[in-house]
Amino acid sequence: MTRVLSTLLSHYRRHPGQLIMLLLGLWVASALWSGIQAINATARDSYARADALFDTQLDQLERRDGMPFSRAEYHALRQAGLPVSPMLKGEVVTQDGTRLTLIGIDPLTLSNDNALAQANTSASLSDFLTPPWQTRVAPDALEALGITRENASAATPTLADGKTLPPLVLAPALPPDTLIMDIAAAARLLESGDQLTRIVAAPGALTEAPPGLTLTRATTLASPGQLTESFHLNLTALGLLAWVVGLFIVQAALGLALEQRLGMLRTLRVLGVSGRSLVLALSLELLLLGLIGALAGIASGVWLARLLLPDVAATLGSLYGAGIGQELNLPWHYWVGGLAVSLGGLLLAGSGVLWRAARLNMLKLGQMQAWRSGYRRQLSLMSIGGAFAMGVALALYVWLRFQSPGDGLVTGFTLVAALLLASALWLPPFLALLLKALTHLARRRPLIHWALADMQLQLPRLSLAMMALLIALATNLGVGSMVGGFRLTFLDWLDQRLVAPLYLNAPAEQYADIDAWLADRPEVFERLLTRRSDATLQAATTPEGSRSIGTPIELYGITPGESLTPHWPLLATQQDRSSAWAAFSDGAIFINEQLATAENLSPGDRLTLNAPGANETLTIAAIYPDYGNPSGQVLMASPQLAARFDAPPSSMGLVLSDEADVDTLRATLLERFDLGSDALSDQREIKRIATEIFERTFTITRALNALTLAVAALALLASLLTQARSRRQQLAPLWALGVPRAQLAQLNLAQLSGAALATGLLAIPLGIAITWGLVAIINVAAFGWRLPLYLFPGEMAVTLATAVGVALLAAALPTLRFWRASPRALLAEEANQ
């Protein structure tokens, strides 16, 4: 067996290029895949830690007026016999400027089955409760504190304000950016006097909220894991794509290595090696190469993940408020899984080779003729397979239409995948037909005729790489258009919402005075007061009847008027825009798209809302888009909101006349009402920040897309290089017949860029279909809102140019080699065959 194996492997000594291609494909496939999985695993670990924290596992009490509790109020509740526990939450700044969340708890009253109890293994309770106290911290946070892991234990790092933390105790189960300590120690650090942020209770321990307080049940709080699910699914889909494209390279290299070793295999068979041991030896070879490629891939995947993690963390933080550790945290099954996926992929790519080796005919040489008809059969199989995949895509689409919105995330991705698969399978038959037709047309131009006919012959070996190129181009275009469309929509939407040039954020009790003062200022054209309050959507009355719901929502008040009303976008109204706004001013509500989607509501339905101060049933007058907001929102006119519920003012937009002196107004306001300098913000500044967050969100998507395209280019280069030799042998006789070398080189480039152009043309409608799938299906399923479909001719032109560019780039090296080879050597090469 070792003899057979070493004979097989000796092939790569003569053709190191093939070995490199093979390993490269494996490496790329497993690097991208495992990189993304490393990010996902780390994020999941962070979510699990956050989930385990009190926020999502405890019922919470808050004051209706949003003010902090005092210790006295807490003691009163305890004395009334309620099983509550105090909590203090704040922020501390480390010396390097990092903000960490500080949570103070009282372990004696806190229920035991939470993260703290689990983190509380080594140290005794009294150390935690008594001075100098303890700081529980996750190892990820040590770097921000300027401490190494070795001397972390019992260290007392100093904060930016000069205070020192109680001695550290490592608690890996905690979220990466959180410090936990006894509430007394926390109060000292935060200088919060006898204030408490929150009062918590074990889930279900309280049957109802004590008077004057609101009770939020732990189960209604969405965990970051749920919110970010679609983001990770997205990443996984991209990783899968890169994996598939990488395997195209492997498949191409393996196919060639087998083809060139057919003679050797036959000889071995004739010499008495059984077919079974031949297949076994080939499998061993695959396993050996697979292990090398997969290990290298996983190592670089981890490196890649480390590189991308800060951006991912920023994205998730800004989109969903989910905290992700900056340090990779990889469980054992990550490593095993990465290896399994790489080897499984290799087996998938190599199964064809093994199959062919097993059925090797000892006598007959692989004849062109048989091969030609074999490829024809393969083409019709591809057409049928493509039709099948398309059928699956259509069926999924129909199925999705009957599905309640918000449920189709995985189905949506499967639909897009089926669409991609169908197009990829249809590509070779399409190219073959196109070439056949063109060959027929070009009969009078001998060289073009030859080039087209020759392309037909090259197609079988190029088709895999072309399929990879198609997929990469289409996803690039699809994702590019989606991001571009999102960007346009988002900026538009920001413009519509931020109509005032100046926004004021003041303490809630000051708004009345400020409003009165501003009312007399001639340069202040309109004052757009907003109010907000948390509420519960208790029930909905639709034409089908009433149902109780009970989800938490956000109640938001705006000031309808000349500046806001004409711009505010509405997706659906009961009658028309103007009557919707009229109803709105009279106390009707608008709801955001995500709420409408999630609860299946339409204008005209009536909602029962429970918010501090009242319980009201109101009519929906319209639905509006609310991009990027993960939660449901109900909109009311600010005066109506104030009249019905206790919703404190939250901000005020100032619409100014053209000649207003903004700087003077700002200065006067700040001075007169003794406001902090950050109380007034510029509309442009807000937009800039929002745009920045937006751009960062899509950094990874773009990076992964570009990588996929690079991999596809590599696949193309791989298949061109592996067949470069036989190509040169086909070109040499033409050269001998009197076709100048320069012309042959040009034809060679033209052939490939032509095929790539056709692929690019096909990628455009496919890309549009993908964009549609992303904005109309996946986005709705993931976020509950639908993006308008924008098409960008510029992006399409770039796609075509990329296709041709990639082809030219991949063809450059083989063509150059042909160009530089001595023609005599080309014929000699032929003679050696």
Partner: protein, 221 residues
């Protein structure tokens, strides 16, 4: 029409320089036929490649119609091959992507001398009638070489260069193919330089030369 004047050709090999042609001079008149014989490795193919402008001599000149081939730029040399030369190799060098008829007409089309009546006639003479739509790999070895000969003669070149055209065929087939080649050469009245091992091939030709240790000798048959 073809003239070698004191031609030298040396290859660099890992074992040092290999002198293949040493002061070789040769003249071939229009319509004349010449057989070139010699041991394996004696440099016959090298000489033929030089004659076809596929390679250039280290010293001396190869001229075609009194033009020094080495002085021509590559595109002009390619044009010369396209329009003035027919080449037949031991390996048939057919274009696998083209059908029989397209292979046959390829060089004539490249030379812009495609003549339907002549190619139809050639097809008949080559015995390939009815196989026009086949691909090269669907022909027997003899048929493939006949097709290669037809392709070389389709533009009616003034000179046909053949390098062991029957080396890959069995004896009977080789005889048939050779006979066909010679009769077509007579029919088109082109000059012929043919590399062969077989005295029977050389016998009917105007002249026969032998390459030995880099030198060209007139050989008696």
């Amino acid at each position: 029409m073809l003239e070698f004047h004191q031609v030298h050709k040396t290859y660099t090999t890992p074992q040092g320089p290999l002198n293949v042609l040493n002061d070789v001079s040769l003249r071939l008149a229009a319509g004349e036929s010449l057989a070139l014989m010699g041991e394996s490795g004696s440099g016959k193919s090298t000489l033929l490649h030089l004659a076809a402008g596929l390679d250039l001599p280290d010293q001396g000149t190869v001229s075609f119609e009194n033009q020094n081939v080495a002085s021509l730029p590559e595109p002009t040399r390619a044009k010369l091959r396209r329009e003035q030369l027919g080449l037949v190799f031991q390996q048939f060098h057919l274009v696998p992507s083209l059908t029989v008829i397209d292979n046959l007409r390829l060089q004539a089309r490249l030379a812009k001398r495609d003549n339907v009546a002549w190619t139809d006639h050639l097809i008949e003479r080559l015995g390939l009638h009815g196989m026009e739509k086949r691909y090269p790999e669907q022909l027997s070895g003899g048929q493939q070489q006949r097709l290669a000969i037809g392709r070389a003669l389709a533009p009616r070149p003034p000179l046909l260069l053949a390098d062991e055209p029957t080396g890959n065929l069995d004896e009977t087939t080789a005889g048939e193919v050779l006979e066909l080649l010679l009769s077509l050469v007579r029919e088109t009245q082109c000059a012929l330089l043919i590399v062969t091992h077989s005295p029977q091939v050389a016998a009917p030709l105007d002249r026969c030369l032998r390459l030995s240790h880099g030198h060209l000798l007139e050989a008696a048959l």
